[in-house]
Subunit: 91 residues, 7 copies
Amino acid sequence: MKLRPLGDRVVIKKIEAEETTKSGIVLPGSAKEKPQMAEVIAIGPDVNRDDKVVLNVGDKVIFSKYSGNEVKLDGEEYTILNLSDILAVIE
Amino acid sequence: MKLRPLGDRVVIKKIEAEETTKSGIVLPGSAKEKPQMAEVIAIGPDVNRDDKVVLNVGDKVIFSKYSGNEVKLDGEEYTILNLSDILAVIE
Amino acid sequence: MKLRPLGDRVVIKKIEAEETTKSGIVLPGSAKEKPQMAEVIAIGPDVNRDDKVVLNVGDKVIFSKYSGNEVKLDGEEYTILNLSDILAVIE
Amino acid sequence: MKLRPLGDRVVIKKIEAEETTKSGIVLPGSAKEKPQMAEVIAIGPDVNRDDKVVLNVGDKVIFSKYSGNEVKLDGEEYTILNLSDILAVIE
Amino acid sequence: MKLRPLGDRVVIKKIEAEETTKSGIVLPGSAKEKPQMAEVIAIGPDVNRDDKVVLNVGDKVIFSKYSGNEVKLDGEEYTILNLSDILAVIE
Amino acid sequence: MKLRPLGDRVVIKKIEAEETTKSGIVLPGSAKEKPQMAEVIAIGPDVNRDDKVVLNVGDKVIFSKYSGNEVKLDGEEYTILNLSDILAVIE
Amino acid sequence: MKLRPLGDRVVIKKIEAEETTKSGIVLPGSAKEKPQMAEVIAIGPDVNRDDKVVLNVGDKVIFSKYSGNEVKLDGEEYTILNLSDILAVIE
């Protein structure tokens, strides 16, 4: 089974971060909940509009942690979110 | 009796998921309420605009769990929601 | 006396549902308040725009239960709502 | 003194309804506060745009009860509201 | 010193109403706070757009009581508000 | 060091008002917090669009007291706000 | 590893301000939380649209303190925010 996202939605799979917070650093305000890394699994037909490539399947991305909807398929957890919830690509 | 949705609305019928949460996994935040699977029963005239096929009757889809309006017709429960509440098609 | 709705408003008359909830079924969340059936009494001039027939007087429709404004005329209760609050036509 | 409403505003004068609620009827939810009848006193220049007559002075209308601003002029109470707060004309 | 309002803003000077509420009348809801009268002192360049005169300096107007920002200049109190907060002109 | 505001932002420097409230005057509601005077220090490239001069550096302006972001540069306090938060120019 | 921001997003690195508040100054209201300085690390493809240079990598900027999402990469803390959250460039 595969997920085909609609519109400008993107299916991602979260990458667990092994990083540990360096002791002594106090993150201000909402920053304690940092965005997460994920791998792009599938992209909707409106993501790369007008032949302008914005995202590719396999890209590592940073996204807003609490955005999107989680869905489990074949025992795997995915997140479906809007392109606008993806902040940056990690190169 | 049949439902003919208006505009870009879609009539779906929920598919009960038999999956059980794998013990030991703690889902963060609102993710505990996962989107659900459904089958597309009827689509409004604006869903497949400009000859661009987005959805077909019979498609299995993932939708946001709390979106839409439930309606009972001939003893069957349906949900009427906007196309924008459908996240992805399962292929 | 007759009601002539303005813009894309629709005057409907609710149809009391005789259906009783089948015992044992627990409807999740807001779904307990189900949309209702109604008959279209009058439609505003912007409902069937550009010669595209969306609704006809006499149609049986499903609408969001808490939308619209109720009004009593000649002892009869009507509801005036926007076309966007009508979810589907029952055929 | 006369009121000349700006834009798509309308000046109305409420008509007190003599109707009494038929005993035994329980109106659900917000429906207890029903819209009211009023007579159109003056209309702004944008109400009947593009030679399309929407409202006339003297029309009896139904409007959303809590919309608009009340103003007293020469001892008379008027309400100034937007055209969009007028639901229907009574014919 | 003079105030030159920007955009579609209007500078007005409130007119104290000598009217007293006629005893015995109970105004429903938010209507107890009635709009006020004012005189137009200055108008921004976008008020009378496209040679369409909407307001003139010296007009007596009705405006929403709590809209706008009060400012004191040379010991006089003025209110600066948007054209959209002016409901009607008194003629 | 100088601040170059982006878009339609404006950098202003507040002018302390020496005025004292005339005793005995009770300002209604939110009016107790009056807008303030400031001098325009720098203007973004979109403020005077299409060769239409709206503001000049050095203008004395009235602005909404709680709008904008304060910033300290070289020991001086400035406020950066949107053009839409500037209500009027004092001439 | 490098961050490539999408759309009109900007990656910045905060500059710790050594400034100390001059004693005796009371900052009114929300102004106690002042915007911060940062250096522009990377800019999305829509920041300098239509050959109009708005920002360059290396620019020192003022931004709204609580806007944006913080992300840690290779042990360094970055903030990803929208161009609209950048208030001014320091020259």
